[in-house]
């Protein structure tokens, strides 16, 4: 049963965009958490036909570490999938009150076309083997048309099917809609602030491996230590700092909105009372 459409909550969309725009030098990826709704509808006509529509509803995303640092490959390790599934089961289910699970994955294509590569299509086909309804999202960013000075961000949703000839896979397009969600959910906020932590963890792991090499002379060790410091500084200014600024702006905007909403509430209460 193919997926009819994907509904992506706007706060999950926000986190995906944040993640995709965090770096233009490599592809980032994550998992989509949500639920699948199956809707039955009767198609009009003489003979009643029941259409089964499978809608994948994405409520939040989990940012993942890149397991393969090569620029053009994104694959999620089984361990990552397993731990994300666990997180979806316990943490997210508690918060939304409904069972959630991993329903798809997303990754970014910086400076590249939004369409999935052959590797992407094959990876997607592999995920579909364990879950037919698994969907793939791609965010293409840092695209610029130099002539018109137009920047572009694109996103697409796809699944894979076996090609008619041969054993290759080809993509099928799945409609995706960003569904408004007026407030940013707790889960999405927590996912968003995970990014600096994940980046730092990656840096630490790399440095630890380097640090364990005992044959390096002090100058090289100082060099490596400085590279770590430099990279962490870069992360702090480009990611943590910007994130903190955005959070503070959100807070300020919310304070103002709440005041305005309170005023409107009073006004409406009065209006209702006079009716």
């Amino acid at each position: 049963m193919a997926v009819s459409a994907v509904h992506l909550e706007s706060d999950a969309f926000l986190v995906c965009m944040n993640h995709a725009l965090s770096t233009e030098k490599e592809e980032v990826m994550g998992l989509c958490i949500g639920e699948v709704n199956i809707l039955l509808s009767k198609s009009p006509g003489l003979f009643t036909q029941v259409d089964t529509n499978r809608i994948v509803h994405i409520h939040s995303v989990i940012i993942l570490r890149g397991s393969d640092k090569r620029k053009d490959r994104v694959e999620i390790s089984p361990e990552q999938l397993s731990s994300a599934a666990t997180e979806a089961d316990y943490r997210l289910a508690d918060m939304t009150g409904r069972p959630m699970r991993v329903v798809g994955w997303y990754h970014s294509h910086p400076h590249i076309t939004v369409w999935p590569s052959h590797v992407d299509v094959r990876t997607q086909a592999m995920y579909q083997m364990m879950d037919q309804g698994f969907v793939g999202l791609i965010f293409s960013c840092f695209i610029e048309d130099k002539n018109t000075k137009t920047g572009r961000v694109l996103y697409t949703c796809f699944q894979s099917v076996q090609a008619q000839k041969g054993s290759e896979y080809e993509r099928i397009e799945i409609p995706i809609h960003v569904v408004p969600h007026e407030a940013i959910g707790k889960v999405c906020l927590e996912s968003a602030v995970e990014l600096p932590r994940i980046l730092c963890q990656e840096e630490q792991d790399t440095y630890r491996k380097i640090h364990s090499l005992t044959h390096l002379d002090p100058i090289t060790k100082i060099h490596n230590g400085s590279v770590f410091t430099k990279n962490l500084c870069s992360q702090m200014s480009a990611v943590s700092g910007s994130l903190l600024q955005w959070l503070e702006d959100c807070l300020e905007q919310n304070r103002k909105s709440i005041i305005e909403l309170q005023l409107e509430k009073e006004r409406l209460t009065q209006e209702l009372a006079t009716m």
């Binding site: 509904h7 076309t113 809609h177 002090p218 090289t220 230590g225």
Partner: protein, 421 residues
């Protein structure tokens, strides 16, 4: 001139735009710096160039359209101050998000821009235009953005907007081996003096220090995040209460008009009218109201014409899941036909449009497309405000996006969307 905007601010604008049921606009706050670059060329020993750098720090979204200007494009300074308050001095530009439109400023936007330039006292006020287009089957969407500086000459109006990011994570810069060196003196000197950098555990002191900085920063991020989460919940709650009150007012108003009409009919039996939609249960009446709501004057729907929230509509679906009702379920399949030039109210299509959400929907007649080319730019806003349920996505969007490489040629754009600046 160069311009930059943080990825978080950019995503936030996209988020607010996705949540709005019409065009979305707001102000850009930040600062303009002047950077001097000195270069040496064969003809001159030093030539310095002054580069104007526009940095967008954050944005101030407007809750609705026409919040600081009227239909004639007249800016109201009082409303402007109410929206901006003390952030007025940080305004460096404003932005607009539109769906399925051309990448150029509309006439109203131009006149508003002129007034804002004067009122805010920013001679080089910028305008950031976001336009959103989708393929016919809604599987791929594109958000295009252009930064204009309309106060400059006609020919140099567009500025490249960059999004600073992490860039190169540079993990390749770690050295896994030292440069081979057999000099004992070298080894001795660097060991003796290099020891300053390391603590007794052999860990570089700098690393501990920078890690502390990082830890403190991350803690602060977490705590502010917690505060934001709380404020979001409070905002959600108050918004819900406001929505409930609005609904109650609508119901109350309808009750009174019903009663008045019944009274009239009782007094004048010959003027008896045919039963209207309002005899239906409230929810479906509201739905059909939204579907048929095409006012002749471009009036923004007031609080009384509050469309049902997406969540309400979906709960309506879940309740009536098994009974095979075709019209509500098709609405749930297409909750946001926003990319289609509609205002994005979940159009319930009681007209039985039968719009399919499957992977290969029937292509639509591109009737919308021709109108848009010829229309005055002003009307694009009304199209986005007012619900016209019969709208279908323009075919041009398929041409625009299918198989198109990331780098575009101007011709490709021009042929689809008409004139470009």
């Amino acid at each position: 001139m160069a311009a930059s905007i943080s990825g978080y601010t950019f995503s936030s604008v996209c988020y607010h735009s996705a949540n709005s049921n019409s065009d979305h606009e707001g102000f850009l706050l930040g600062e303009v710096r002047h950077e001097e670059t000195v270069s040496i060329s064969d003809t001159q020993i030093s030539s310095s160039e002054l580069l104007q750098v526009v940095e967008v720090h954050n944005h101030e979204p407007c809750a609705q359209l026409f919040s600081f200007y009227d239909y004639a494009g007249q800016v109201n300074e009082e409303s402007l101050n109410r929206i901006l308050k003390d952030r007025r001095k940080n305004v460096i530009g404003w932005y607009r998000f539109r769906r399925n439109t051309q990448q150029q400023m509309s006439f109203r936007e131009q006149i508003i821009h002129k007034q804002l330039t004067q009122l805010l006292g920013v001679p080089d006020l910028v305008f950031l235009l976001f336009s959103f287009i989708s393929t016919a089957n809604n599987s791929t969407h594109a958000l295009e953005y252009v930064l204009f500086r309309p106060n400059r000459s006609r020919y140099n109006q567009r500025v490249t907007l960059s999004i600073p990011n992490l860039g190169n994570t540079s993990q390749q810069e770690y050295k896994v081996s030292s440069v081979p060196n057999t000099s004992l003196n070298y080894a001795k000197v660097i060991k003796e003096h290099g020891a300053e950098f390391f603590d007794k555990d052999g860990v570089m002191k700098d690393i501990r220090t920078i890690f502390q900085v990082y830890g403190a920063l991350q803690d602060k991020v977490q705590s502010v995040c917690g505060e934001v989460e709380q404020s979001e919940r409070v905002k959600e709650k108050v918004q819900e209460e406001v929505n409930k009150l609005k609904q109650q007012i609508v119901l109350r108003k309808r009750k009174t008009t019903d009663e008045e009409r019944r009274l009239q009919e009782a007094q004048n039996p010959e003027l008896r009218l045919t039963p209207e939609e309002n005899t239906e249960p409230p929810e479906t009446a509201l739905l059909s109201r939204v579907a048929f709501h095409t006012p002749s004057t471009p009036e923004r729907p007031g609080p009384s014409a509050n469309p049902p929230a997406y969540s309400d509509l979906l709960s309506l679906q879940n309740d009536s899941l098994l009974p095979f009702s075709s019209s509500p379920t098709s609405a749930a399949l297409l909750p946001r036909p926003q990319a289609v030039g509609s205002p994005g109210h979940p159009s319930p299509s009681p007209l039985g449009l039968g719009l399919s959400a499957g992977p290969n929907p029937a292509p639509s007649p591109g009737q919308e497309d021709d109108d848009e080319e010829e229309d005055d730019e002003d009307s694009s806003e009304y199209e986005n405000l007012v619900s016209e349920v019969g709208q279908l996505p323009p075919v041009s969007a398929i041409v625009l996006l299918q198989g198109r490489p990331a780098a575009l040629s101007p011709d490709g754009d021009a042929s689809v969307r008409g004139s470009q600046t």
